[in-house]
């Protein structure tokens, strides 16, 4: 098979849906910078879409639309940017606030011991006036950060960068989110691709307020992701913190 054939089959299987979680995440992330792959995916989407005809429509419950509308209300209520006068960059207070807000959470009894060792720290850099960028650092003990996660709360776009983390043979990293509103258990966000990244849009279903208060975790799982739907391996955690500081009282 030629390289082009391989790429075409990758696109086809992505559209068909048979790739595992890690492969799907890789393709979703790669198509954002690989136009050829993106076009092949779209082509397959169009080729196979007539099968959608076979799906029997099912009416959603009447409470679903109001639920969605409430979420959109929340999204719309959030200002896209704030006047510069509102901002008081104070790097010192950032760290103090951060320490106060540092939380640990256990991702499962099996990893309680590991989780207890986990420390999280945060990078603070020059605020970008118009962005509502938040960042979390995933770090174990005093080692170099393993991963750096940043989220733009306006667009809910997520970027995950491995810093010292390396791909593991026969195992996958999985990203989790935990928030009060989501209940007591962490929820899977995505299994990291072979290049240790995830698609930028994996947080689109969560609103900014939830994300701001959420804790993130990255665990080591069997290849393809946790077999139980809950973290099963050692985990490290991170908590989002704004890169452009605003007084805590003014945050929603």
């Amino acid at each position: 098979m030629t390289e082009r054939d391989d790429l075409d089959m990758l696109a086809a299987e992505f559209v068909l849906g048979t790739l595992d979680a890690g492969e799907r995440a890789s393709v979703a992330s790669r198509r954002q910078r690989d136009q050829e792959l993106d076009q092949l995916i779209r082509h397959w989407e169009n080729l196979l879409s007539p099968m959608n005809d076979e799906v029997v429509p099912v009416a959603p419950g009447p409470e679903l639309l109001p639920r969605i509308e409430r979420q959109l209300d929340e999204l719309q209520a959030r200002p896209d940017s704030r006047p510069k006068a509102d901002r008081k960059p104070e790097a010192g207070s950032t760290v103090v606030t951060l320490r106060n807000r540092l939380r640990r959470w256990q991702m499962g009894t099996a990893v309680a011991g590991v989780a207890a060792l986990v420390l999280m720290s945060v990078l603070v850099w020059q605020p970008a006036p118009e962005s509502r960028s938040h960042v979390a650092v995933f770090q174990q003990n005093d080692e170099q950060p393993a991963f750096l996660l940043s989220v733009d709360l306006n667009t809910r776009e997520l970027t995950l960068k491995p810093v010292t983390a390396k791909p593991l043979e026969d195992r996958s990293y999985q990203l989790w989110i935990k928030a009060e509103r989501l209940g007591p258990k962490p929820r899977s966000v995505a299994v990291l691709g072979d290049d240790l990244t995830v698609a930028a849009d994996v947080l689109q279903g969560y609103d900014a307020q939830l994300l701001e208060q959420a804790t993130f975790g990255i665990s080591v799982e069997p290849e393809g992701g946790s077999p139980t739907g809950q973290p099963t391996g050692p985990a490290i955690h991170g908590y989002l913190y704004p890169t452009s500081e605003r007084p805590a009282g003014q945050r929603l």
Partner: protein, 171 residues
């Protein structure tokens, strides 16, 4: 769709009423769990609201674009969950009963008839495999268990089926 892209909430509600049953049907068939499917549907519509301006009518019909978002989200969700026990018999019955028997309606009729024709050209096992994957979100592993073949064989079969389909559709 254009209204939604402009941030028109009334247009969004209208789009929801027109398309939500189709999208829920799509998600439910993959997840096979009502509550879970509605949660995903909610995420999908929030995502549609946010991404509507990326919709390009030159590249896909609105319903194809919407169903694609719903399918992707549902498959991502099921792949990130444990490989639970699927209600296989039920799904196979569903598969057989949804086998198209007349001209298509929602999608462009010509293309649908053509795809059905090309699917018909595949051996039955391969046709079922493609439909179970696309419609029910079965993974290679699930296909491997059902068809009692190693995962690598399933992969080869899928490739052949997809190549044959593409050859037929683009000829």
């Amino acid at each position: 769709m254009l209204g939604v892209a402009r941030g028109d909430r009334a247009a969004f509600t209208e789009l929801y009423h027109a398309t939500a049953p189709k999208l829920l049907g799509t998600i439910l068939r993959i997840l096979q769990h009502r509550g879970w499917a509605e949660d995903v549907l909610q995420e999908v519509y929030v995502s549609i609201w946010q991404k509507a301006e990326q919709f390009d009518p030159a590249k896909a019909s609105p319903i194809t674009w919407l169903v694609t978002i719903a399918r992707n989200r549902a498959i991502d969700r099921i792949r990130s969950q444990p490989a639970g026990s699927r209600a296989t018999d039920n799904e196979l019955a569903q598969l057989a009963s949804s086998e198209p028997d007349g001209p298509a309606s929602l999608e462009a009729g010509q293309t649908a008839d053509q795809l059905n024709h090309c699917l018909e050209q595949l051996e039955k096992d391969r046709r079922d495999m493609v439909r179970l994957a696309y419609l029910n979100g079965w993974s290679r592993r699930e296909l491997s268990a059902h068809f009692e073949q190693p995962v690598n064989t399933i992969k080869t079969w899928l490739y052949r089926a997809l190549k044959q389909l593409k050859g037929c559709l683009t000829s």
